[in-house]
Symmetry: C2
Subunit: 100 residues, 2 copies
DNA sequence: TAAATATATTTAAATATCTAGAATAATAGA
DNA sequence: TCTATTATTCTAGATATTTAAATATATTTA
Protein backbone atom coordinates (compact mmCIF):
# COMPACT_ATOMS: atom_id res chain seq x y z
CA UNK A 1 0.00 0.00 0.00
CA UNK A 2 1.50 3.26 -1.22
CA UNK A 3 0.34 6.39 0.62
CA UNK A 4 1.18 8.77 -2.22
CA UNK A 5 -0.52 6.61 -4.85
CA UNK A 6 -3.65 6.13 -2.75
CA UNK A 7 -3.77 9.83 -1.84
CA UNK A 8 -3.57 10.68 -5.52
CA UNK A 9 -6.62 8.52 -6.18
CA UNK A 10 -8.44 10.28 -3.34
CA UNK A 11 -7.54 13.73 -4.67
CA UNK A 12 -10.30 13.57 -7.30
CA UNK A 13 -13.98 13.85 -6.40
CA UNK A 14 -15.21 11.32 -8.98
CA UNK A 15 -12.76 8.68 -7.80
CA UNK A 16 -13.78 9.22 -4.17
CA UNK A 17 -17.43 9.09 -5.23
CA UNK A 18 -16.85 5.76 -6.98
CA UNK A 19 -15.35 4.31 -3.81
CA UNK A 20 -18.32 5.55 -1.80
CA UNK A 21 -20.86 4.28 -4.33
CA UNK A 22 -19.23 0.85 -4.22
CA UNK A 23 -19.74 0.79 -0.47
CA UNK A 24 -23.47 0.41 -1.03
CA UNK A 25 -24.15 -0.80 -4.59
CA UNK A 26 -27.79 -1.69 -3.84
CA UNK A 27 -28.59 1.96 -3.15
CA UNK A 28 -26.44 3.45 -5.89
CA UNK A 29 -26.84 1.20 -8.92
CA UNK A 30 -29.59 -0.65 -10.74
CA UNK A 31 -29.51 -4.45 -10.45
CA UNK A 32 -27.38 -6.33 -12.96
CA UNK A 33 -29.21 -8.33 -15.54
CA UNK A 34 -27.20 -11.52 -15.19
CA UNK A 35 -26.68 -11.66 -11.43
CA UNK A 36 -28.93 -10.83 -8.50
CA UNK A 37 -26.20 -9.70 -6.11
CA UNK A 38 -23.26 -7.29 -5.93
CA UNK A 39 -20.79 -9.68 -4.33
CA UNK A 40 -18.17 -8.85 -6.95
CA UNK A 41 -19.14 -5.21 -7.21
CA UNK A 42 -20.49 -3.22 -10.12
CA UNK A 43 -19.85 -3.32 -13.87
CA UNK A 44 -17.94 -0.51 -15.57
CA UNK A 45 -20.91 0.68 -17.63
CA UNK A 46 -22.99 1.45 -14.55
CA UNK A 47 -20.13 3.32 -12.94
CA UNK A 48 -19.63 5.29 -16.14
CA UNK A 49 -23.32 6.21 -16.37
CA UNK A 50 -23.43 7.32 -12.76
CA UNK A 51 -20.23 9.37 -13.01
CA UNK A 52 -21.16 10.95 -16.32
CA UNK A 53 -17.61 10.87 -17.66
CA UNK A 54 -16.26 9.32 -20.84
CA UNK A 55 -15.56 5.62 -21.23
CA UNK A 56 -11.81 6.09 -21.54
CA UNK A 57 -11.64 8.38 -18.51
CA UNK A 58 -13.60 5.99 -16.31
CA UNK A 59 -11.53 3.06 -17.51
CA UNK A 60 -8.35 5.01 -16.74
CA UNK A 61 -9.68 5.92 -13.29
CA UNK A 62 -10.57 2.33 -12.52
CA UNK A 63 -7.17 1.14 -13.70
CA UNK A 64 -5.45 3.69 -11.45
CA UNK A 65 -7.61 2.64 -8.52
CA UNK A 66 -6.84 -0.98 -9.25
CA UNK A 67 -3.10 -0.23 -9.47
CA UNK A 68 -3.38 1.39 -6.05
CA UNK A 69 -5.10 -1.84 -4.93
CA UNK A 70 -8.17 0.08 -3.82
CA UNK A 71 -10.54 -1.99 -5.95
CA UNK A 72 -10.63 -5.58 -7.17
CA UNK A 73 -11.78 -6.58 -10.68
CA UNK A 74 -13.71 -9.74 -11.44
CA UNK A 75 -14.68 -10.86 -14.91
CA UNK A 76 -18.26 -12.00 -15.40
CA UNK A 77 -18.84 -12.87 -19.02
CA UNK A 78 -18.49 -9.70 -21.06
CA UNK A 79 -18.46 -7.52 -17.99
CA UNK A 80 -15.75 -6.52 -15.57
CA UNK A 81 -17.08 -5.97 -12.08
CA UNK A 82 -15.25 -3.86 -9.55
CA UNK A 83 -15.57 -4.06 -5.80
CA UNK A 84 -13.77 -2.29 -2.99
CA UNK A 85 -10.64 -3.76 -1.47
CA UNK A 86 -11.61 -3.18 2.14
CA UNK A 87 -8.31 -4.45 3.52
CA UNK A 88 -6.27 -1.90 1.59
CA UNK A 89 -8.67 0.93 2.37
CA UNK A 90 -8.45 0.12 6.07
CA UNK A 91 -4.70 -0.28 5.79
CA UNK A 92 -4.36 3.19 4.26
CA UNK A 93 -6.34 4.80 7.05
CA UNK A 94 -4.50 2.84 9.70
CA UNK A 95 -1.12 3.75 8.21
CA UNK A 96 -2.05 7.42 8.14
CA UNK A 97 -3.06 7.17 11.77
CA UNK A 98 0.33 5.75 12.67
CA UNK A 99 2.77 7.45 10.31
CA UNK A 100 1.25 10.81 9.49
CA UNK B 1 -11.84 19.98 6.43
CA UNK B 2 -12.00 19.09 2.74
CA UNK B 3 -11.12 15.50 1.86
CA UNK B 4 -10.16 16.26 -1.74
CA UNK B 5 -7.98 19.23 -0.76
CA UNK B 6 -6.22 17.32 2.01
CA UNK B 7 -5.74 14.26 -0.22
CA UNK B 8 -4.16 16.48 -2.83
CA UNK B 9 -1.65 17.71 -0.26
CA UNK B 10 -0.90 14.11 0.67
CA UNK B 11 -0.41 13.08 -2.97
CA UNK B 12 3.10 14.56 -3.04
CA UNK B 13 6.01 12.96 -1.22
CA UNK B 14 7.67 16.21 -0.17
CA UNK B 15 4.47 17.53 1.37
CA UNK B 16 3.94 14.29 3.29
CA UNK B 17 7.58 14.42 4.38
CA UNK B 18 7.13 17.95 5.69
CA UNK B 19 4.16 16.84 7.79
CA UNK B 20 6.19 13.95 9.15
CA UNK B 21 9.23 16.12 9.86
CA UNK B 22 7.05 18.57 11.78
CA UNK B 23 5.90 15.73 13.99
CA UNK B 24 9.36 15.61 15.56
CA UNK B 25 11.23 18.86 14.87
CA UNK B 26 13.95 18.12 17.45
CA UNK B 27 15.09 15.11 15.43
CA UNK B 28 14.66 16.64 12.01
CA UNK B 29 15.83 20.24 12.25
CA UNK B 30 18.66 22.21 13.83
CA UNK B 31 17.72 24.43 16.76
CA UNK B 32 16.52 27.92 15.94
CA UNK B 33 18.83 30.73 16.84
CA UNK B 34 16.29 32.94 18.55
CA UNK B 35 14.18 30.35 20.40
CA UNK B 36 15.10 27.17 22.25
CA UNK B 37 11.89 25.26 21.52
CA UNK B 38 9.71 24.20 18.60
CA UNK B 39 6.36 25.05 20.18
CA UNK B 40 5.32 27.00 17.09
CA UNK B 41 7.01 24.64 14.66
CA UNK B 42 9.84 25.27 12.24
CA UNK B 43 10.83 28.24 10.08
CA UNK B 44 10.44 28.10 6.30
CA UNK B 45 14.17 28.25 5.60
CA UNK B 46 14.89 25.06 7.51
CA UNK B 47 12.05 23.24 5.76
CA UNK B 48 13.36 24.45 2.42
CA UNK B 49 16.91 23.28 3.17
CA UNK B 50 15.71 19.88 4.28
CA UNK B 51 13.40 19.41 1.28
CA UNK B 52 15.95 20.66 -1.24
CA UNK B 53 13.34 22.42 -3.36
CA UNK B 54 13.16 26.05 -4.45
CA UNK B 55 11.97 28.84 -2.20
CA UNK B 56 8.86 29.54 -4.24
CA UNK B 57 7.89 25.88 -4.43
CA UNK B 58 8.22 25.39 -0.68
CA UNK B 59 6.32 28.59 -0.02
CA UNK B 60 3.58 27.42 -2.41
CA UNK B 61 3.49 24.01 -0.71
CA UNK B 62 3.21 25.55 2.73
CA UNK B 63 0.45 27.90 1.55
CA UNK B 64 -1.49 24.94 0.09
CA UNK B 65 -1.03 23.00 3.31
CA UNK B 66 -2.14 26.02 5.30
CA UNK B 67 -5.20 26.46 3.05
CA UNK B 68 -6.06 22.85 3.74
CA UNK B 69 -5.67 23.72 7.45
CA UNK B 70 -3.04 21.04 7.89
CA UNK B 71 -0.47 23.46 9.31
CA UNK B 72 -0.61 26.66 11.37
CA UNK B 73 1.70 29.63 10.77
CA UNK B 74 3.11 31.82 13.52
CA UNK B 75 5.22 34.88 12.95
CA UNK B 76 8.36 35.24 15.05
CA UNK B 77 10.26 38.33 14.07
CA UNK B 78 11.42 37.90 10.50
CA UNK B 79 10.52 34.23 10.45
CA UNK B 80 7.30 32.38 9.84
CA UNK B 81 7.11 29.18 11.81
CA UNK B 82 4.83 26.34 10.79
CA UNK B 83 3.50 23.63 13.03
CA UNK B 84 1.06 20.79 12.43
CA UNK B 85 -2.64 21.24 13.00
CA UNK B 86 -3.20 17.98 14.84
CA UNK B 87 -6.95 18.46 15.09
CA UNK B 88 -7.42 18.69 11.35
CA UNK B 89 -5.05 15.81 10.67
CA UNK B 90 -6.99 13.63 13.10
CA UNK B 91 -10.24 14.87 11.65
CA UNK B 92 -9.18 13.87 8.14
CA UNK B 93 -8.28 10.35 9.22
CA UNK B 94 -11.45 10.04 11.27
CA UNK B 95 -13.60 11.26 8.38
CA UNK B 96 -11.99 8.79 6.02
CA UNK B 97 -12.71 6.04 8.52
CA UNK B 98 -16.37 6.99 8.59
CA UNK B 99 -17.14 8.16 5.05
CA UNK B 100 -14.76 6.32 2.80
C1' DT C 1 16.52 56.12 8.06
C1' DA C 2 18.89 52.75 5.27
C1' DA C 3 20.33 48.14 4.48
C1' DA C 4 19.77 43.37 5.06
C1' DT C 5 16.98 39.19 5.89
C1' DA C 6 12.93 36.04 5.62
C1' DT C 7 8.96 35.00 3.41
C1' DA C 8 5.17 35.72 0.06
C1' DT C 9 3.66 36.64 -4.42
C1' DT C 10 3.99 37.12 -9.41
C1' DT C 11 5.45 36.00 -13.97
C1' DA C 12 7.14 33.14 -17.60
C1' DA C 13 8.64 28.78 -19.24
C1' DA C 14 9.12 23.72 -19.13
C1' DT C 15 7.11 19.64 -17.96
C1' DA C 16 3.43 16.69 -16.29
C1' DT C 17 -1.30 15.42 -15.60
C1' DC C 18 -6.29 15.45 -16.77
C1' DT C 19 -10.03 14.61 -19.72
C1' DA C 20 -12.40 13.92 -24.08
C1' DG C 21 -12.89 11.75 -28.28
C1' DA C 22 -11.74 8.61 -31.69
C1' DA C 23 -9.81 4.58 -32.99
C1' DT C 24 -8.28 0.02 -32.10
C1' DA C 25 -7.59 -4.27 -29.37
C1' DA C 26 -9.13 -8.01 -26.48
C1' DT C 27 -12.53 -10.89 -24.64
C1' DA C 28 -16.86 -13.08 -24.41
C1' DG C 29 -21.59 -14.10 -25.95
C1' DA C 30 -25.04 -14.89 -29.62
C1' DT D 1 -18.97 -14.05 -37.76
C1' DC D 2 -21.18 -10.21 -35.54
C1' DT D 3 -22.10 -7.63 -31.46
C1' DA D 4 -21.33 -5.88 -26.73
C1' DT D 5 -18.21 -4.69 -22.96
C1' DT D 6 -14.01 -3.12 -21.36
C1' DA D 7 -9.04 -1.92 -22.02
C1' DT D 8 -5.58 0.49 -24.43
C1' DT D 9 -3.54 3.91 -27.44
C1' DC D 10 -3.22 8.32 -29.58
C1' DT D 11 -4.08 13.13 -30.19
C1' DA D 12 -5.18 17.45 -28.46
C1' DG D 13 -6.57 21.04 -25.38
C1' DA D 14 -6.94 22.38 -20.55
C1' DT D 15 -5.05 22.51 -16.13
C1' DA D 16 -1.36 21.67 -12.64
C1' DT D 17 3.50 21.37 -11.15
C1' DT D 18 7.93 23.16 -10.54
C1' DT D 19 11.75 26.24 -11.39
C1' DA D 20 13.96 30.65 -11.84
C1' DA D 21 13.85 35.31 -11.53
C1' DA D 22 11.87 39.37 -10.11
C1' DT D 23 9.23 42.08 -6.99
C1' DA D 24 6.69 43.02 -2.65
C1' DT D 25 6.24 43.13 2.30
C1' DA D 26 7.45 42.89 7.00
C1' DT D 27 10.94 42.90 10.33
C1' DT D 28 15.51 43.35 12.30
C1' DT D 29 19.81 45.55 12.52
C1' DA D 30 23.23 49.03 11.55
Amino acid sequence: MNIIEVSKVLSNKTRVDILKWLKDPESNFPPHKDIDHFDDGVCVGYIQDKAGLSQSTISTFLTAMQNASLIIPTRHGKWTYYKRNEKVIESYIETLGKDL
